[in-house]
């Protein structure tokens, strides 16, 4: 009983760590642009497919695959930024969002054109037996995922709070007009934020496919939905909130799945989001989102 609880908590944290990364990517983009990038997940999927394609055709080591995933996601992210967000800066938020959805369709079709099977194997992060510690089993890949996600979070924290670029990003999130008046080159920061967010998403995507050992075109929708959900739960536009939202989502999912099954897991996550939004809990609605 207690063992289940602990085990679920561990599983939940490692899943939550990737959700946190996805939510951070979303939040960075939403924070500076005030627009949701629906193509965030599909861009990650594109990176993962690029890596899978390399793996299937040439074979490549884990590190190289991670590198290809991240660069693929950044490349796809740059394409989305140029076509969907740069033209609508200061313009219509809905148009930007719908445009990003249109590119989502492109990524999905591109993935199935290049690799037409529904499912491909991806090299596993770790193939040995799980580690047994008394009554608990620790999946090594889950630990590695948690560790990598935490490392990525720390690297992001350092970038945002200890570098000049990070200062500009935070200034832009807080007061876009004042950031421009302080001499920050806003369009250029947008481009770099997009690249940074896509890279973080690429790391998350790589961790997910490498721990599941497989990839399908559904990854795009999955990553967009989980990222949006975690971002909203943590309060729209707050970076620490994104981490908390991601971890909370992971924990809730792990426990509800164990006790109630996968359908109830998703139902409860969405119900929670709906109820919190409807109740207008303070941390969710303090920042306006238009």
């Amino acid at each position: 009983m207690i063992a289940d609880l602990v085990q679920n908590t561990l599983d939940g944290l490692s899943a939550g760590a990737t959700y946190a990364l996805l939510a951070l990517g979303f939040t960075l983009i939403f924070g500076v642009l005030r627009r949701a990038n629906l193509s965030f997940g599909p861009a990650i999927m594109f990176g993962c497919y690029a890596a899978t394609w390399t793996h299937v055709n040439f074979g490549a080591g884990l590190l190289l695959l991670a590198l290809i995933t991240v660069s693929g996601a950044v490349l796809a992210g740059a394409y989305v930024e140029r076509l969907c967000f740069a033209p609508h800066r200061g313009g219509s938020a809905i148009a930007a969002m719908v445009a990003s959805f249109a590119l989502w369709m492109q990524f999905e079709e591109l993935a199935t054109l290049i690799m037409p099977r529904h499912l491909y194997a991806f090299p596993l992060l770790y193939e040995g037996d799980p580690l047994a510690l008394g009554p608990f089993t620790l999946r090594i890949d889950a630990l590695a995922m948690l560790g990598a996600a935490l490392a990525a979070c720390l690297a992001l924290w350092w970038t945002l709070y200890r570098t000049r670029f990070g200062l500009a990003v935070r200034a832009l999130i807080e007061q876009p007009a004042a950031a421009a008046l302080a001499g920050i080159n806003v369009p250029w920061v947008f481009v770099r934020v997009f690249a940074l967010a896509s890279a973080i998403g690429g790391v998350a995507g790589y961790l997910v496919v490498a721990s599941h050992g497989q990839i399908t075109p559904m990854l795009g929708m999955w990553a967009t939905l989980k990222g949006l959900l975690a971002m909203m739960l943590g309060g729209l536009g707050s970076l620490p909130g994104a981490v908390i939202g991601g971890l909370a989502l992971g924990l809730i999912e792990a426990h509800t799945q164990w006790y109630l099954g996968p359908q109830m897991r998703d139902l409860i996550a969405y119900l929670l989001l709906f109820v919190l939004l409807a109740a207008r809990v303070p941390w969710m609605t303090t920042r306006s989102a238009s």
Binding site: F30, A36, L38, L83, C84, P87, H88, G91, S92, A93, I94, A95, A96, M97, V98, A99, F101, A102, L103, W104, M105, Q106, E108, E109, L110, L113, M221, L225, L228, M232, L236, Q263, D266, L267, Y270, L271, L273, F274, L277, A278, A279, R280, M284, T285, S288, A289, S290
Partner: protein, 295 residues
């Protein structure tokens, strides 16, 4: 007309209902990611009524519309004060909940020696009312087309009336609208109920056209597509959403030039159109220009 053409035209008409429901919300200033839920509610409710309870389709359609209106009204009631992405995410959460509830729904009875009714993820087979009543595909297209024309006529009438101006006023600037004495909450609740009924009508007609539905038919893809159709077609007139559907299904799908590349072409086209026309092809300015030109 060959079967394929009839099928494509029926699909265009069916999509138009849900695109119009997204359009209605957009002109009232709300972006919904969740219209697929009410389309699904209509499809399931209508299918259950005709298949399990032997209701005639027209009556089942009316009941499904009422249910769709009530469903979206109930979703809107606690979420209408949310704006922008908050509202969109609340509708998405509601829609995903609805989809999961469809997955959990097992409601099967023996009809004519066969088990019929929703069977969770296995879907809902045998919604055969139009076959049992000998309605040919061409006739069904006629029925769907007439209903769509009626809905469009209603839209055009409302858009020329004071109510239409009020709707656009609420959409463009709710604070200003409230300050001149418009009950913004009531208008938006009314719009939500109407959008729910409209999507549900599309759903009923879809279920009976296809004879088979399953929960996956009603995922976020359908909702965001309808939003995209409404937006690229244009927010200036109710013909906008139709143009959006026509552009995708009508030209790209049926002309097989882009076989296998359709979404790449369409996706790029949508993104490019929105760069130059953020409120769609038939936006307010174009519609005004057209009216002056031809009246």
């Amino acid at each position: 007309m060959d079967d394929y053409a009839i099928g494509v035209l029926t699909n265009i008409a069916l999509f138009s209902f849900i695109a119009l429901s997204a359009y209605l919300l957009l002109i009232a200033g709300e972006m919904s990611f969740g219209q697929q839920a009410f389309f699904g509610v209509g499809a399931y409710a209508g299918g259950i009524l005709t298949t399990l309870y032997a209701w005639p389709l027209p009556l089942a359609a009316l009941a499904a519309m009422a249910l769709g209106a009530v469903a979206q009204f109930l979703v809107a009631l606690p979420t209408l004060r949310l704006r922008g992405l908050h509202f969109a995410m609340a509708t998405l959460a509601a829609a995903e909940m609805a989809r999961i509830l469809f997955e959990l729904m097992h409601w099967r009875r023996e009809i004519d020696g066969e088990l019929a009714g929703p069977d969770g993820t296995q879907g809902f087979r045998g919604i055969r009312w139009i076959f049992e009543h000998g309605i040919e595909p061409l006739h069904y297209l006629g029925i769907v087309g007439v209903l769509l024309a009626l809905v469009l006529a209603l839209f055009l009438m409302i858009e020329r009336s004071k109510l239409g101006a009020t709707l656009r006023g609420v959409g463009l600037d709710p604070e200003l609208a409230a300050s001149v004495g418009i009950d913004v909450q009531r208008i938006k609740l009314g719009v939500a109920a109407a959008a729910g009924a409209l999507a549900a009508l599309g759903g009923v007609l879809y279920a009976h056209h296809n004879t088979y539905i399953e929960p996956r038919n009603f995922d976020i893809m359908l909702g965001v597509h309808s939003l995209a159709y409404a937006l690229i077609g244009g927010l200036g007139t109710a013909f906008g959403p139709l143009l959006g559907v026509l552009l995708d299904i009508g030209t790209l799908e049926s002309t097989r030039v882009f076989h296998g590349y359709r979404m790449i072409v369409f996706g790029g086209l949508v993104a490019l159109v929105l760069v130059y026309r953020p409120r769609g092809l038939l936006d307010e300015r174009t519609v005004q220009w057209l009216r002056q030109r031809f009246s």
